[in-house]
Symmetry: C2
């Protein structure tokens, strides 16, 4: 029997760790698992940052991505955009530390939302090559280049060799080498990632230079910026007690009343007074910093009893029905496509989100492998393609939960059908730090299902129409075959010319079938 | 057209955030997604901590869990163990902050490994009720009780109302209330979690008091502690350049030579010299703190060229073949069970892990729902049940990748079969912070497949034996049916008594079939 160990002995090894150390050890949680996926993750982080930055600065994005093989399992990456650039005093924290940035705390639809991605890339460069990344940037006013690295133990950025350069360009250029990576033209590779990004961001022009020297150019297909997402105030219905207290503590308003008016959307002076009447015992004249948990709970409950105008849903930016249809037609060349953009909804009481769905059938739809084809799901969150962690995503759950037989799809796994789903929100509840799957929140799953069913009904009409038409056609052909013989027989009996009878019968049959088609059309509309 | 925004305008909102703030906002990443899952996550965190602590202190665990409904969606939780307790000076950091603790940096098989779980529970209590948790603990020397909370913005523990009490017990008691939770007796609920924990920890005695007052007692079925995992030194083959440098910077050894000997397993003075000869240009006499990335890379490459004794695999602790068999028999009452414990292997060059598999067939095996039954997978990592994120787990991938027809299972989805898999390692590469799925590392997936196939072969022999036996039996019966008639006919022709012939024929047939069975038995062994 081993000796019993005391608490003091066990706890003498007690230590504190930084978040960068945590991710250094668990880089798979950031998406660095497997060589192909790791390379895709790097491109994913830089590309989403460029798209966010150009969108915020209202610039039509022009992005170049270059991937070059340096040695076995080691690639150099170069990403250049024409965005606003990063001021030099912020560049370290923006690209070489985690949980710092402009994105985490804003209530606004953005592709990135955690303030982890770019710092994660620098960590990955460091742990696989010992070197950080190199940056050139010009904000229009100021232009510089520098090397970036991280003090992992302290989550502190290290900016080295910073030098002013000519500000004869505008944007950001990032370059670096990354080990434990591999370029592969697969479903999970960089090419597919860029292709899908282009699909969901038709306002972007993206050029990809591949390791073998090939250039893939995804040209801009719309010359207009998409509707710009706005930073909005949280809706009173989406608040937990803890959220409300958190806002109260950060507030500079003098009184609870003005705090509520200033901080939340749809709260007018009158509505704040109404809340005060419902939340008895809470002193609305005191400083918001003095609110207790009980006070906050009462206010949240008061809000729940009141009727509110819906959240500001126009703050969301979608891909757009037309854009989805054009993109699907270009890429999948399907026999049929149906696109649905639902009205915005909210989850958790007040977080706005909106679902778009496109279903394509036939052509290059579905996943083709050799002779067989199977239904495929193209997932997007805030227009960013999700290639990994398929199994744990709300989109997968919703699409797999559809009774496809109702939509004339006998087995989803065996039909040439592609289902594109994009979920946009000011806050996407990702299931993991790697942002590859949307957590299975009931309201989101339900809304995706409804959207897919909407699009599915159109598909059903098309497919059953097709089937009916092909039945009709075979009936028409069968009857037509007898016309000639019948006309000849009638000539023998009655003496009436075969050609005449044949012509009349044919027109009769055609009329009959035409009517049938018309009736069908009416009954399904 | 909206105005272009400058970098300065965009970056004026630049902020820094704490890891606790991050998890407060993204609590679903810690497993707090959905009310039922959230409750299970809390129990999971406290129970694994208790099992780790008792194991480290070498105490047979005696754990009590109480769940009580306080109001709608709000439950109080109480978990008590007889472990070593926590010294009061460490209790705040241990239970009310994240990335602090004894587990993160140790190279040792433990259930917890991140230093996030318990702090996550306190965050969740805070954001759903405004209150932290309450603790009573006695280390044998010192006993106290206190309230614990967190300063979320700073990731700092807040210890309040600390009072000394009588040290008339030993262990840790945690209690607290948690909102947004729900007790449900489902596949993902607390009861199932505790049941599976008992299954994989037969040395533990666990009592669960349910909200309706029912008591479920899972008694200890072995009176012996399991083989104790040991903290080991990293193997020279499992090192990346970055790891080696990291160890070098923390080392207090005077020279590179002694640093290598002191830090890594299997490195003797002779082997360090051998490495020095291979890693030319690297000065092994200098301080390890002076090692450059290039130096470290050369040493890692030198290590890779040398032959090494395998890692210290006895440092791992498994459930055990016998224990798995007994547990499966108790719980599933199957018609057949086969258990395989593979030899330890390594992944990523040097991280040791071991896979155990049990396959049960018939009885209560598989997942029963109404009239239908389907194959089920019971996943464990370091003996901890994994109930969520099934789709993204290496175990699921491996089991679904098996060609089950080879093992006489026509469709895994439609048979009464349960596959239990436990992966033990000094480092489980979880795919997310919620620790519910093992990342799909090739070497781990492959090893699980081999283990399942091993166990599957035994199942195949049993099932085809069963099938053969039932074929044989029906053959025997068919032939036996003719014996009586044939004997009577022979009596008519030859005069030999029917009874005599019948008896002889029967014994002949029986002998024939007995031999057949024997041959079968031999050929399958």
């Amino acid at each position: 029997m081993q000796e019993t160990k005391s608490a003091d002995e066990i706890f003498k090894e007690f230590k504190e760790h930084s978040i960068t150390e945590f991710f250094r050890k668990n880089s798979q949680m950031l998406g660095y698992a497997g060589k192909v996926r790791s390379l895709t993750t790097i491109i994913h982080e830089y590309l989403t940052n460029s798209l966010d930055a150009t969108e915020e600065a209202n610039i039509l994005p022009d992005i170049e991505v270059r991937v070059k093989e340096v040695s076995e399992s080691r690639y150099s990456i170069y990403v250049r955009d024409n965005g606003p650039g990063i001021p030099s005093k912020h560049v370290g924290k923006a690209l070489a530390s985690v949980l710092t940035g402009t994105k985490f705390h804003r209530y606004m639809q953005q592709r990135g939302q955690q303030g982890i991605g770019a710092g994660g890339c620098t960590i990955f460069a460091l742990i696989t090559t010992g070197n950080g990344i190199r940056v050139r940037s010009s904000t229009g006013k100021e232009a510089y280049e520098c090397d970036l690295s991280i003090d992992i133990k302290g989550n502190k950025p290290l900016v080295n060799n910073l030098e002013k350069i000519e500000p004869n360009f505008r944007g950001l250029e990032i370059s670096g080498e990354f080990g434990e990576t591999k370029y592969e033209k697969s479903d999970h590779g960089v090419y597919e990632y860029v292709r899908r990004t282009a699909l969901s961001n038709p306002h972007a022009s993206i050029k990809l230079v591949e390791p073998e020297g090939g250039e893939a150019i995804f040209p801009r297909s719309v010359e207009k910026m998409p509707a710009k997402p706005r930073q909005i105030k949280p809706h009173p219905l989406g608040l937990s007690t803890s959220d409300l207290l958190d806002f109260a503590r950060a507030s500079e308003s003098r009184k609870v009343t003005s705090f509520l008016e200033d901080t939340f959307s749809r709260v007018s002076h009158e509505r704040a007074k109404e809340a005060a009447e419902l939340a008895k015992d809470v002193d609305f004249e005191k400083s918001p910093k003095e609110l207790t948990w009980q006070d906050a709970e009462k206010i949240v409950n008061a809000f729940k009893q009141m009727k509110w105008i819906a959240p500001e849903l126009d703050a969301l930016s979608t891909i757009g029905e037309q854009q989805i249809e054009v993109a699907i037609k270009n890429i999948l060349d399907p026999r049929f496509v149906s696109v649905v953009e639902r009205k915005p909804r909210v989850f958790k009481g007040g977080i706005p989100f909106v679902v778009e769905v496109g279903i394509a059938y036939g052509g290059k739809s579905g996943k083709q492998s050799g002779e067989t084809v199977s239904g495929s799901i193209l997932r997007f969150a805030n227009k960013v393609p999700l290639l990994f962690d398929t199994g744990s995503c709300a989109i997968t759950e919703a699409v797999n939960g559809i009774d496809w037989k109702r939509y004339s799809i006998a087995r989803f796994e065996e039909e040439p059908v592609s289902v594109l789903v994009n979920v946009s929100s000011v806050y996407i509840p990702y299931s993991g730090v790697g942002k590859q799957a949307i957590a299975q929140e009931d309201e989101i799953v339900e809304e995706i299902k409804l959207a897919v069913q909407d699009a599915g009904r159109k598909l059903e009409r098309y497919l059953s129409g097709e089937r009916h038409k092909s039945l009709q056609e075979s009936g028409y052909k069968t009857i037509a075959r007898y016309v000639s013989q019948l006309s000849a027989d009638l000539e023998e009996i009655t003496g009436r010319k075969k050609e005449e009878t044949e012509k009349e019968l044919k027109s009769l049959i055609e009329k009959k079938y035409k009517n049938l088609f018309k009736e069908e059309d009416q009954s399904t509309n």
